[in-house]
């Protein structure tokens, strides 16, 4: 066996060169990135998306299982009294996995971690019982900080209490919607990353360093064949428009090259009637060929449909 022995120097230099590269590209950036604190955007995003929106063992087929709800709470869940102003809470029903920042508070960042643990009691949240979280304001080391508060401990609000007082229109299926965003490959054409140099006017402000803590996948996208979506909810929050646009983008934008997502409506519409896609398509073809004056009506989606969650996610992108 001739072996590598004539290559002793070469293998050592290789180890040095490759190891040095890995040190510069992995170790040093990891020190910087680990020191980044969550912004309010990151707290809201990770609490609304839940633990993971790509492939994971709790949702292996990317159906939107094991995801929290975002509830705009208008009444106290214990007393039923109206609140002075609506409060956004994140409802993790029992068995739902908590986001990375709750499981590993270090991800939240300096100050936020301490406040969330000491005042927010996030360590008391139990997966078996479920929990209700919110983002609260506090002071740490003389500076104002946001932190995650476990309302189940601090106020005794359980997920069941919150869902009892919340109406369907106050609930956003953001986490399931982000899963749909990943599964349907929206990010192959729509970026979630306005660029630092030129996107301010059209697509809004680029993200800050701490806007992604706890998020997975970040799904920045790399190929912008379509508008950036990071702030789409600020530009357009019409559910009506989104519904038509997802069903067939050519209904609202004749030159669009976006695929139709009518299959996300599922079998039945909002009224529980079976949706006749074949009929719709043939009527639409007549309309597109000029044989019909108006386009056929887009069926309204059921409240538990996949498209509802995707639209919820779109509107959450403020």
């Amino acid at each position: 066996m001739a072996g590598f022995r004539e290559y002793k120097i070469g293998t050592r230099i290789f180890a040095l060169a490759f190891g040095g590269s890995m040190c510069i590209t992995l170790l040093l950036p990891s020190i910087n990135i680990a020191a980044v604190s969550s912004t309010d955007i990151a707290l809201a995003k990770s609490l609304s998306a839940g633990h993971e929106t790509g492939f994971n063992l709790d949702d292996p087929f990317l159906q939107g299982w094991n995801k929290p709800f975002v509830v705009s709470l208008k009444a106290d869940p214990k007393t039923g009294q109206p609140l002075a102003e609506a409060q956004t809470v994140y409802v993790y029903q029992k068995g739902t996995t908590f986001p990375a920042g709750i499981l590993h508070p270090r991800i939240l960042g300096a100050g936020i971690e301490e406040l969330s643990v000491q005042q927010g009691h996030i360590g008391d949240a139990k997966k078996d019982a479920g929990a209700v979280f919110t983002v609260s304001k506090g002071m740490y080391d003389g500076k104002a900080r946001s932190f995650v508060e476990n309302l189940t401990t601090t106020k005794g609000w359980t997920p069941a209490d919150v869902l009892r007082v919340a109406k369907d229109e106050d609930i956003s299926h953001t986490g399931k919607g982000k899963t749909m965003f990943v599964r349907e490959g929206c990010w192959w054409c729509h970026t979630l990353l306005p660029e630092q140099t030129q996107d301010w006017q059209v697509f809004g402000a680029p993200p800050m360093l701490g806007d992604f803590n706890g998020e997975s996948p970040t799904a920045f996208g790399s190929d912008r064949k379509a508008p950036d979506l990071m702030h789409v909810g600020s530009r357009n929050s019409s559910r009506e428009w989104m519904m038509m646009h997802f069903f067939n983008p050519r209904l609202v934008q004749p030159h669009s090259i976006m695929p139709r997502f009518d299959y996300l409506w599922g079998e039945k519409d909002a009224a529980g009637q079976k949706i006749d896609f074949a009929k719709w398509r043939s009527e639409y073809t007549e309309y597109a060929e000029g044989k019909r004056v108006t386009a056929p009506e887009v069926p309204s989606y059921a409240s538990d449909s996949e498209i509802r969650s995707l639209i919820d996610f779109m509107i959450s992108l403020k």
Partner: protein, 468 residues
């Protein structure tokens, strides 16, 4: 193939693994480019096969990418390693049996992985889209067995030194295993946020820079001297190429995220290192071009040399783009546009595909001891690849420049979509030409195996004249 899986290693004819890898890679190439053509049609004509989850663009786009990277390109690499590594060590492949099992596990795993991707089960991370169980499978049943076979073959070589091609093979397979395991660590360990975003592009950059680029170049270091009969122009320049790949190509991962909020030092560092990619590129191209001295007629007359040299020539625009487009001055204009799509296809369909194509043409003829069935079909394959790719590259580059201008001058997005439409049609035509060319290639290689003229013992296939 199946009868050899349980045979004794000594009873398996030398080169069997390479043959199965070779044909597998061509089949995956046909599948991958067919999917690419289908996807391109959907971008040109959005109502072409629509409203069905299994034919949605977002479900098929990643299947095309993974089929060509892990099916075509990587299996062609495995094929090249299975016959070139022993040839350069004047020995036999360490284990044909391991190679055959490797090939079977590779095909099974890739088919499984692409099926789950197609159904939408994805990690949501570009280039590392496979869910982590598939990633682990690929590491354990695909890359590690390949590495063991290549390393053991080099260790058991009968020559004293190790030739340039084998340095690249031995180290690239090591680096790709590291890249595969580290790059997918966000999935294994649920790393989130910027770590996940950065490691996604760290993987994407390094799988190209430390696997596809060096192995493709290594193939040229074998095919050109072997077929022309000229010795490699300079081993010293080969050293420069090798070491500069290890040092400069392994560091610029962050230049894929120039507009993302990463530490600024990291982006600046990556950008400078990115320009230094020109060092291995210039070393490689000049070395191969100078090796061709006195044998340039073979560029016209010989299929393998024509493929190899075309690939090497593509490395010039590829690296000029690659070196400079990632600097801040240029990146702000072309980032996220079709320019990048054109560049990615220049790397994978231009540069590397032509080099691997040569390896598969040469390898299958050499191992099966059969002369290529038809020069005409090979010429058609070459020109359809080249013309199809060129149409694709030019149209996507123009579309990218339009998108860039639209981005800078804040043109309403839909006007950019309208302006791009003709180039989307051109891209579909180019991609379809590539696909049809590959179907001809599959037929040609199949017929070579069946009825190609037997190459006499002691002869190389390129020493025989073409018959059709």
């Amino acid at each position: 193939m199946f009868k050899y899986l349980l045979a004794k290693n000594e009873d398996i004819p030398a080169g069997s693994a390479a043959v199965f890898f070779g044909f597998s890679s061509i089949v995956w190439f046909v599948i991958g480019t067919g999917l690419g053509s289908f996807n391109a049609a959907k971008l040109a004509f959005p109502d072409f096969v629509t409203g069905n989850i299994f034919f949605a663009f977002g479900h098929m786009r990643q299947v095309h990418v993974m089929a060509v990277i892990f099916g075509w390109i990587s299996m062609a690499f495995a094929m090249a390693m299975m016959y070139i590594t022993p040839a350069l060590g004047n020995s036999k492949l360490w284990s044909e049996k391991l190679g055959l099992w490797n090939c079977m596990f590779w095909n099974v795993g890739l088919a499984l992985g692409l099926t789950v991707l197609w159904s939408g089960v994805s990690s949501g991370r570009e280039y590392s889209d496979f869910p982590w169980p598939i990633d682990l499978y690929l590491a354990v049943f695909v890359f590690i067995p390949l590495a063991i076979n290549v390393w053991m073959t080099v260790l058991n070589r009968k020559t004293q030194g190790i030739y340039t091609t084998n340095w690249f093979f031995v180290s690239a397979i090591f680096m790709v295993i590291i890249v595969f395991l580290v790059g997918n660590s966000p999935e294994f360990f649920h790393l989130t946020g910027l770590t996940e975003a950065y490691l996604t592009w760290w993987f994407a950059h390094n799988v190209l820079g430390l696997w596809i680029t060096p192995v493709a170049a290594a193939i040229a270091y074998y095919t050109v001297p072997k077929v022309t009969g000229n010795p490699l122009y300079s081993h010293r320049i080969g050293h420069l190429h090798f070491w500069s790949v290890v040092v400069f190509y392994s560091t610029p991962a962050a230049h894929h995220l120039m507009s993302a909020p990463l530490p600024e030092w990291l982006k600046s560092f990556a950008s400078v290192e990115g320009v230094l990619i020109l060092v291995p590129a210039v070393a490689f191209v000049s070395n191969i071009m100078l090796t061709m001295r006195g044998k340039w007629y073979m560029f016209v007359e010989n299929v393998e040399i024509r493929f190899t040299i075309t690939g090497c020539l593509m490395a010039i625009p590829l690296n000029m783009q690659g070196g400079f487009q990632q600097t801040r001055a240029i990146n702000w204009y072309i980032h996220g546009t079709g320019w990048i799509v054109a560049h990615a296809h220049l790397a994978l369909l231009g540069f590397s595909t032509f080099l691997e194509g040569a390896a598969v043409y040469l390898g299958l003829q050499t191992i099966m001891k059969r002369k290529l069935y038809s020069l005409t079909l090979a010429n058609m394959h070459y020109w359809m690849l080249l013309i199809g790719f060129t149409i694709y590259w030019i149209s996507m580059t123009i579309a990218g420049l339009i998108q860039g201008a639209g981005k800078i001058y804040e043109v309403p997005y839909i006007d950019v979509v309208i302006a791009e439409h003709p180039y989307m049609i051109a891209r579909w035509i180019g991609g379809t030409l590539v696909f049809v060319g590959n179907v001809f290639w599959l037929y040609n290689m199949w017929m070579t195996a069946r009825v190609g003229t037997v190459v006499p013992a002691g002869r190389m296939p390129h020493e025989l004249g073409y018959e059709r």
